[in-house]
Symmetry: C2
Subunit: 206 residues, 2 copies
């Protein structure tokens, strides 16, 4: 990969990344043409090949960048330091929102890359998968104090439920196309309030 890519103005770099995320997230690796990516990025195919020597290199670069950016944004959000479960969920979601605003197709791309099985790349993807798997979830679950929640609740199920719901909420907006991040945040807030009102013990006694 040509280091000159890094010298590009932020705007153009982002356009290229987003073009890549977009095309690769809508088709198999093999059926995602470089020409289409170049066109989506607003540059010529030749220039794209100037920065990335071949398709595989671009794809793997996108994958790495995707992981890097996500981890960065999540760390910066402070979600991992937060002790309160709902607070950490809140920060995490905000981080995801910021990410989706900058890279609208990064989520879809990550999912497809995760399950891509083209022999030309699947091995490389699997190798660097570790960065993505969220080890925080298990830790977080273990640290929860059952006394904070309604008696007898299945905490593991609660966590899965929350994860699925927030993911589902996100997807609903992603699929719709142009994403309205303000509406999304409002929606997510309502989810958070719902959780608190249902799962927390002190809220019950009011």
């Amino acid at each position: 990969m040509n280091p000159k890519f890094y010298d590009l103005p932020q705007e153009r770099k982002q356009a290229i990344l987003n073009a890549g995320f977009h095309v690769f997230s809508r088709n198999t690796y093999k059926k995602s043409p470089m020409s289409e990516i170049a066109e989506a990025a607003g540059i010529s195919k030749s220039l794209l090949f100037h920065y990335f020597h071949n398709k595989k290199e671009l794809y793997l670069f996108l994958w790495d960048t995707c992981a890097k950016i996500t981890v960065e944004e999540m760390t910066r959000s402070g979600a991992y330091e937060q002790n309160d479960l709902f607070g950490s969920m809140d920060y995490g979601m905000q981080a995801k929102l910021r990410l989706m605003k900058k890279y609208p197709d990064i989520g879809l791309f990550a999912v497809r890359a995760f399950y891509e099985k083209d022999p030309e790349i699947s091995a490389d993807i699997q190798k660097s998968m570790g960065k993505y798997l969220d080890a925080h979830a298990a830790k977080k679950l273990g640290k929860l104090n059952p006394d904070d929640f309604i008696p007898g609740i299945d905490l593991y199920m609660m966590y899965r439920e929350m994860y699925w719901a927030s993911e589902g909420c996100l997807w609903e907006y992603i699929q719709r196309g142009a994403l309205d991040t303000d509406a999304m945040e409002k929606d997510f807030r309502r989810l958070l309030d719902f959780w608190k009102s249902v799962y927390l013990r002190n809220n019950r006694e009011k």
Copy 2:
């Protein structure tokens, strides 16, 4: 579309449908080759063109069949007649499971078809969309008796939460590849129990 398709043995019909669902669900309409579908179905491309005169016809047929099959299975499941929310959720999920067992890619296909924007077909899809939109959800929500649930609960949010969670649960299994329906059903039962224990009022007082 050639009516002789209906005379085919069930097994072969299903193989063709599944091949179509599979290929179209993994790529854009334009990038989903008929040859690949034929190969996945275990027949020659020529024979596929014998039953469906062109790609568009096949795609639209798949879309209609997808809607028809789903409505059929859901109706037969008795989910719509069930008054109890959780019972109806239970029956609905069972129906989906049976469906996914027979047509593993029908869910993915439906989602992609829903958001497909190729001008050659998007209009036709949008036109027949009504069959899919679930009008039952709103009705169901209106009929719920708030006294059955914990005081002050946001019933709309509860419904969305349940929908997302069950959808998320399904996806987790779909993506994994070969789907273990027994494990899925067990998992879903646990979800149901969790919901009952958290949302229902009488459960709280024990």
